[in-house]
């Protein structure tokens, strides 16, 4: 019996070792950015991205592509997240697979952090230049100080070619033409190597003699003074003076070589222009909203009043970058990522046109697997269980109006 037990134990141990070793060889590529893990209320109630356009789906090394579109800064920004007073328009990619050749909000270059106003809508554009081949998930992204990254929708983009072909040419204000990819690399390696060699020389001077045990015995027996000779002090003095002299000389020669240098540039950019959105003529009141967990569907009862002078229909509900469309009203032609698009995900109990001046209460259902796939259903576990999103109404001529909705959400488990 003991023999069997021992064998089982031994084999189990071997199996464990084999499993652990095998696990080392399994290193899948991490291509996504945790967008599904971000709290649902963050994605629903902070920055709403819409009208996004990725200019290319395949791009060669050194070529450019852009992501452009609009984002609305939600007026009902959650209390648990700091306001976007210091924000940075970023891009969600796995490291510098592209370089950010430019980024603009409201037509202004935004290399630094900006201050955004609640309730306003901004247009943006990020210009990217391909650097590393592969297939990459490219997201829009807004970092908010005290809030973290608020990631927008992502789309797969393929970069072709070889990274060795990538160059980043620039001309400095002193007229020097450089490739930023490799600029000053020789100098960095050289100075680190020189100083490292000096450090090694100092260490070698001491380790060439008996070190630990004899010296410890000497100190313990009161002969510490004998361990440092006059020659040691001379060498030490030479190293100290040599270091100081070398610092002075290299400072001088560096200043001669680079007479014009400036401090790092920093600072918050205010006064970013937002889009003057036309005043909406649609009034929407949320009577109630429930999320039916088994059906992966959110149902809202909305009282909608058309205060405009042309009939309108509800075409889209956009929340957390997931777009629920009523296919009878709106068809996406922008190439929006499939996984974020519910082309027939919006059902309105009566979506006949609202005549000018008409008020009607309807039941609106947004249903799609995206609720689960993008973990938006986790909203019911969030500290502030409210939902929010954009409603898009269209008149007969295709003119669009945008309205925000923001209300408590009651989960239904049956």
């Amino acid at each position: 019996m003991k023999l069997i037990k021992d064998k089982v134990a031994k084999l189990s141990f071997v199996a464990l070792l084999v499993t652990m070793t095998a696990a080392i060889f399994y290193t899948p590529t991490a291509s996504a950015h945790g967008e599904k893990s971000q709290a649902a209320f963050m994605r629903m109630r902070t920055i709403h991205w819409f009208d996004l356009n990725w200019s290319k789906e395949e791009v060669a090394i050194n070529d450019t592509m852009s992501i452009s579109g609009k984002f609305h800064v939600f007026a009902g920004w959650p209390e648990t997240v700091d306001k976007p007073e210091v924000s940075f328009l970023n891009i969600g990619i796995p490291g510098p697979v592209f370089i950010r050749a430019g980024s603009w909000i409201g037509g202004q270059l935004v290399p630094r952090s900006v201050s955004l106003e609640l309730g306003e809508t901004y247009d943006f554009k990020v210009l990217l230049r391909a650097r590393r081949p592969g297939e990459w998930h490219v997201h829009s992204m807004m970092n908010v100080e005290g809030g973290g990254p608020i990631i927008g929708p992502g789309k797969w983009v393929t970069i072709t070619g070889s990274m060795g072909e990538f160059t980043n040419p620039l001309t400095t204000l002193t007229g020097q033409q450089i490739d930023l990819e490799t600029y000053a690399l020789d100098s960095i390696y050289f100075w680190h190597a020189v100083w490292y060699a000096i450090g090694v020389a100092w260490l070698l001077f001491w380790v060439k003699r008996p070190m630990f045990i004899p010296r410890h015995i000497a100190i313990s027996s009161g002969k510490a003074a004998s361990l440092i000779s006059a020659n040691d002090k001379k060498v030490g003095m030479a190293f100290a003076l040599g270091t100081v002299i070398m610092l002075g000389v290299t400072m001088g020669t560096t200043n001669e070589k680079y007479p014009v240098t400036t401090p790092l540039q920093a600072g918050l950019m205010r006064g970013i222009k937002w889009i003057e959105m036309p005043a909406t003529t649609v009034d929407v009141k949320v009577e109630d909203a429930t999320y039916r967990v088994p059906g992966r569907a959110m149902q809202m009862t909305l009282t909608i009043t058309n205060n405009g002078d042309s009939p309108i229909r509800l075409g889209e509900f956009n929340t957390a970058s997931v777009r629920f469309l009523d296919a009878d009203v709106l068809e996406d032609e922008s190439g929006y990522p499939d996984d974020l698009l519910a082309e027939e995900g919006l059902t309105v109990s009566d979506n006949s046109p609202w005549a000018p001046g008409e008020t009607r209460t309807v039941s609106v259902t947004a249903s799609d697997a995206a609720w689960e796939v993008y973990r938006l259903a986790d909203l019911i576990y969030d500290p502030d269980s409210r939902f929010a999103g954009l409603l898009f109404f269209f008149d007969e001529d295709g003119n669009r109006q945008m309205t925000m909705v923001d209300a408590p959400l009651i989960p239904s488990f049956i």
């Binding site: 924000s87 891009i91 990619i93 796995p94 490291g95 510098p96 592209f98 370089i99 050749a101 270059l109 290399p111 952090s113 970092n143 100080e145 980043n168 620039l170 001309t171 204000l173 930023l180 600029y183 000053a184 690399l185 100098s187 960095i188 100075w191 680190h192 490292y196 000096i198 450090g199 090694v200 260490l203 001491w206 380790v207 008996p210 070190m211 045990i213 004899p214 010296r215 410890h216 000497a218 100190i219 510490a224 361990l227 440092i228 003095m237 190293f239 100290a240 270091t243 100081v244 610092l247 290299t250 400072m251 560096t254 680079y258 240098t261 400036t262 401090p263 790092l264 540039q265 920093a266």
Partner: protein, 249 residues
């Protein structure tokens, strides 16, 4: 062989064993320091040391020396007190720089493709040489703390200037002026390091005009003195043999 008998039978054998111990201890010490100091410096100096666009004339100059004098002070205390070896600071910085270069080259460049001219480490070697030589020449931990600590802070910027100066050359880009280091930070996308996290050029040293680096370096040196005192006590405590009872020896 009883416990009271010697393990060696001749002086030549004793010397050989002693040298073997020297190399074993040195090898182990080097890599233990490399690991410990590297983690410490990544956690405290962090981004200031990682990125060229964090290496400014105010906060980098101030923070990096203060948080990096720790291990050199402790190891110096241990090696000087027990062995009269003035190599504590140098061995720390050699270990740190080796670890940092492996990390920057293998990880920052090899895995995530940030150019090395954007993520090179700071040079701490001039300060380390001065700390060790001042300890050797003065033979006093107090003198080393005061003079060496101050020197550690003061020489940090000059020791790095030949490396970072090319990256402080200005460039016009889309109608704005940047340094090349700023532009590196903008071009080479860091998803988890937004621009506002960057702590550069902040503070109240505005009355010194553009010459703030020396003032920052002096301040850094003063604080380095205090940190040196504190960490040299850690080193002395660590080098005690009180943990082992006489009976075990």
């Amino acid at each position: 062989m009883s416990a009271s008998q010697s393990a060696v039978r001749s002086r030549a054998e004793a010397v050989k064993v002693s040298r073997t111990f020297d190399w074993m201890i040195l090898f182990t010490l080097f890599f233990v320091i490399l690991g410990g100091y590297h983690i410490h410096y990544m956690l405290t100096g962090g981004d200031w040391d990682f990125w060229a666009d964090w290496k400014d004339r105010r906060l980098w100059v101030t923070v990096a020396p203060i948080v990096s004098i720790t291990f050199p002070a402790a190891v110096q205390a241990c090696l000087w007190w027990r062995y009269r070896l003035p190599v504590g600071a140098t061995i720390c910085v050699l270990g740190l720089l080796l670890g940092e270069w492996i990390n920057r080259y293998m990880n920052f460049w090899g895995w995530t493709y940030f150019p090395v001219n954007f993520c090179f480490p700071s040079n701490l070697m001039p300060g380390a040489i001065l700390l060790d030589t001042i300890l050797l020449l003065g033979g006093s931990m107090t003198l080393t703390a005061v003079v060496g600590g101050l020197a550690w802070g003061l020489v940090f910027y000059p020791g790095n200037w030949p490396i970072i100066a090319p990256l402080h050359v200005p460039v016009e880009y889309n109608g704005m002026m940047f340094t090349l280091a700023d532009l590196q930070g903008y071009h080479y996308v860091r998803t988890g390091t937004p621009e506002y996290i960057r702590m550069v050029e902040k503070g109240t040293l505005r009355t010194f005009g553009k010459d703030v680096a020396p003032v920052s370096a002096f301040f850094s040196g003063f604080v380095s003195i205090i940190i040196y005192f504190l960490w040299h006590f850690f080193g002395k405590w660590f080098a005690k043999t009180d943990f082992i009872s006489d009976e075990d020896l």
